[in-house]
Structure formats: structure tokens, C-alpha cells
Amino acid sequence: MIRFENVSFAFAANGTAPVTVLDKVDLTVGEGEFVCVLGPSGCGKTTLLNLAAGFLFPSRGRVLFDDAVVVAPGPERGVVFQEAALFPWLSVLKNVEFGLKRKGLKGSQLKQTAFAYLESLGLGAHAHKLPVALSGGMRQRVAIARVLALEPRVLLMDEPFSALDANSRERLQDELLRLWVTNRRTVIYVTHSVEEAAYLADRVVVMGSTVEGGIFADMAVPLTRPRSRTDDGLLAMKARLRAVLATQPCCIQPLISPRAM
């Protein structure tokens, strides 16, 4: 469904020497798969996601969505950002309506659809509040509702819960799984947390230094769902992921990201 073919990405920040973030990456994500991209900060995980979203374009190689080259962002590839990235001047409901309006919904249908998605994430009571009045966890819920309302074919999630406290993080992970189990949308989920990857994913793609070529491990998670956080199998999976990560040096790229529309 999403395919990276020999993708390299390099950028130069303000006249400095170009930095290679991704080098000859090949990756295929199939329909309905929940794939976690795991790696230390600065290894290019977010860049990979931005390429799939169409916010950035590869320096070499190509990114395909349903066998068509990705040329722009679009509602079929919904993105949940690390910070909720809600429009602060719009109410929660209007934030969800934003994408629906672009799809041509109007009037009461628009309002009802947006409200239904908010309800599905337990946000019905907050529909008319401004984002500033919500906690970080609730804002991220709104961001998820907003993206689900687009009915995307794939969800691209960039460390969506990493800024939240542990409790909200676990609750939102469970909520995400509940929603995923009901309609099995393809998910590409970027994280630096072994815990998160082992608990959520069908398959974990581990990224490391570009010297090694970007992706250096691609592991299936042999656990049934629903999973328990205290299950032995999960602990074993976490240990395996840790062992793989330990073979790689930590942060190998400068923590700057390319700014492009």
C-alpha cells in the first residue's frame, strides 16, 4: 500500500554541508498493517513519515501510495502530529469540521458527522471549547478525531503520545488499538519507545544510523490481541527490541529538521 523504493533524503540547512537523513531505504507497508517505526532521536523516523505524508520529497528514489508516486499531502493519508497542531482559533468541533468541509460536507450533515467522531473519542462534552481549554491528552484526542473524520486509508502518526503523561499515554494507546481493531486501517506509527512499539505493532521496523542504510531490522511481533502490558511475551518482545537497538549508536544525526511546506 505504501512503498519506499530506494529512498534517500538529504538536506542542507543554511549553506551547511548537506546532511543525509535517509540512505537507500526500502520499505513496504501492506494494507491493514500496524507498523511501528522505532529508533533513537535523529535517525530519520519523522522524515520517513513526512515523505509518506507528502510534506517532503525524496532526494533519490520514490515513495508510492497505491502504486502512485506521492506528490502532495492528502486526506487519504491522515497525519497525527507530535503536538496536536489544532487550529487554536477554532472550537474543537470546528477543528474536526475543517477537513470535512474540504470533502464537501455541509450544514447539519457536517455538524453531525464531526460530532459523531468527537463522541467516539469521548469528547462530546468538549465540542464547543477552544483547544487552549483542553489538556494535552484531550487535544491529542481531538487531533485523532479530526484525522479519523477524513476516513483516511492510512494513519501516519508521529510520536503522537510522547508529550503526554504516562497515564494518558496508556489510555490513548488502548483507545487507538480499540479504533484500529474495529476497522483495521493501515497505521505507520513512529516512536522511540520500545514499550510502545511492542505493545501496539504487528511489525516493528528499527531504524538506526544512515551509515548502516537507515532500516536495519524488520521484526514481526508474534503476539495475539488484545495484549496485556504485563504479559511475558510482551516483555520478551521488548527485550528483543532493546537488544537490537543496543547494537546501534545513539543519536547520530544533528537534531535539526528540514523546514519545507
Binding site: P75, F81, F98, R146
Partner: protein, 271 residues
């Protein structure tokens, strides 16, 4: 005592200004006495100024007009000049923020305008419009337009990239992106620009009235009172100018700016 709420809020809002005001008045009083002792010149004290202001408010005329007429004329010119500046500044900022070509072709011009001191426009204003009303309004407009333009443009250019990406991901293109995302996101900067422009305009207005010869207005009154050695009246006009500036700044635009900022910017403080 619900009806006391606004009063309490008013007191709470202006309370921090009391001490600075007392300090200013003290320095002023000391300076007045010092000048009197050293040079034998009757430098108006806060009290004599206050008394003169009372008389002016009570109906005394200055250069043939009551104080109210001077104030109204100044305010009218200010509003006219500032409206022109706001329209042009916002228009330019949005256009340059939308069209790369316009931004490139005009790069640095607002910054250049910002460097020209307001009074340096006097010869230009007089050559263009002669002496009088239009010249004054022109000077206010040209001095206030740059801060507005610069703030609007930079507001558009520095919109959080994640907001733009989110909008594009949801299917927003070109003009939807511009009118429904970039402009609202730039609103706090726009209001800052207006606030700065308003202050700049006010300062230039008073200076312009002193020179361009408008026949009325606070600046004109100050300079005229000097010829008649009515220094307390000059000082009273200066006090009025400060009061009006402070009122508009702290009473109107300051709260408006804070309100949009606190609403727009989500990262403020832990939740």
C-alpha cells in the same frame, strides 16, 4: 457585590501604574525646583500644570480654541492617518505574504521606511500637500505603515509549519489555506503591528502639528503656548497627550493583544 466587579477589575488593572506615576511626578517636581533655584526660570511644576489643565478644561482657550477642539482635531487626524496606514500595511503584508514575487520585489522597503524618523517626512509632506491637514495625515500614515506591514508579513511567514501541514493534509489548498489558516494564525502579529503603528502615528502626529502648521491640535497648541510664554498650558497639553496614548494603549490594544495571544498560543504554561 457583583456590581463592584468592574470597579475592582479597573483598580487591579491600573494599580501597577500608580508607583511609576508617582516617581515621574517626583522627578518632575524636583527638576522644576532645581531649575527655579539655579536659573531663576519658572519651570511649571506638576501642580501648576494641573491647575492650568483644570482651567483649560473649564473653558480657557488656547490659540483661539478650547482644549476639547484641539484634542478632537488631533484625534481625527490620528484616526485618518492610522486608518490609511492600517489599510495599506495590512494589504501589503497579506499580498507579500501570498505572492512571493511581491515579497521579493519589495524586500527591505518597509524596513527602510522604518529607519526614516517621522519628522524627516516634513519636507516631503509639505512639497506633496502644502501646509495643513493633508500633510499631517500623510506623515502619520507614512510613519505608521511600516510597523504594520512588517508585522503582518512576518506573522504570515512565521506561521507554525505543523498547522500548515495539518491543513494541507486535510485537503486545504491555496486560498483556503491562506484565508482560513495563514491569516487567522497571523492575527496576533497583525494586532501587535497595529498597536505599534498606532503609537508611532500618535508621536508623529504631535510633532507634525508643531511644524506643518495646522491651526489647531495638541502639538500646535504646545508650540503656540510657547510663544505666549504660557508654559503651564504646554505642559498640560503634554500631559493630555500622554494620558490619551496610555488610555488607548493600556485600555484598548494591550488587552486585545493579550487576549488573542493567550487564546492563539497553546504552549503557554503546563496544563
Amino acid at each position: 457585590m457583583i456590581f463592584l466587579r468592574p470597579v475592582q477589575r479597573f483598580i487591579a488593572y491600573w494599580k501597577p501604574s500608580v508607583l511609576p506615576l508617582l516617581i515621574v511626578l517626583t522627578i518632575w517636581e524636583l527638576a522644576a525646583r532645581w531649575v527655579l533655584a539655579l536659573r531663576g526660570v519658572a519651570f511649571p511644576t506638576p501642580w501648576t500644570t494641573f491647575v492650568r489643565l483644570g482651567a483649560l478644561v473649564g473653558g480657557d482657550t488656547l490659540s483661539g480654541h478650547p482644549l476639547g477642539v484641539h484634542i478632537l482635531n488631533s484625534l481625527r487626524r490620528w484616526i485618518m492617518g492610522f486608518s490609511i496606514a492600517a489599510t495599506l500595511g495590512i494589504g501589503y503584508g497579506l499580498l507579500a505574504g501570498r505572492l512571493r514575487g511581491v515579497e521579493k520585489a519589495t524586500a527591505g522597503i518597509p524596513q527602510l521606511l522604518l529607519l526614516v524618523p517621522g519628522l524627516a517626512w516634513i519636507p516631503v509632506a509639505i512639497l506633496l500637500f502644502g501646509i495643513g491637514e493633508t500633510a499631517t495625515v500623510f506623515m502619520i500614515a507614512i510613519a505608521a505603515v511600516a510597523p504594520v506591514a512588517i508585522n503582518v508579513l512576518s506573522g504570515i511567514k512565521t506561521v507554525d509549519i505543523q498547522l500548515v501541514r495539518a491543513a494541507r493534509m486535510m485537503g486545504a489548498r491555496r486560498h483556503i489555506l491562506f484565508f482560513h489558516v495563514l491569516i487567522p494564525a497571523a492575527l496576533p502579529s497583525l494586532i501587535s503591528g497595529l498597536r505599534i503603528g498606532l503609537g508611532t502615528g500618535w508621536r508623529v502626529l504631535v510633532a507634525a502639528e508643531m511644524v506643518v502648521g495646522t491651526g489647531s491640535g495638541l502639538g500646535y497648541a504646545i508650540i503656540q503656548a510657547r510663544w505666549t510664554l504660557d508654559y503651564p498650558a504646554s505642559f498640560a497639553c503634554i500631559a493630555v497627550i500622554c494620558a490619551i496614548g496610555l488610555l488607548v494603549e493600556r485600555g484598548l490594544l494591550g488587552p486585545l493583544e493579550r487576549r488573542t495571544r493567550s487564546r492563539w498560543i497553546l504552549e503557554e504554561g503546563p496544563r
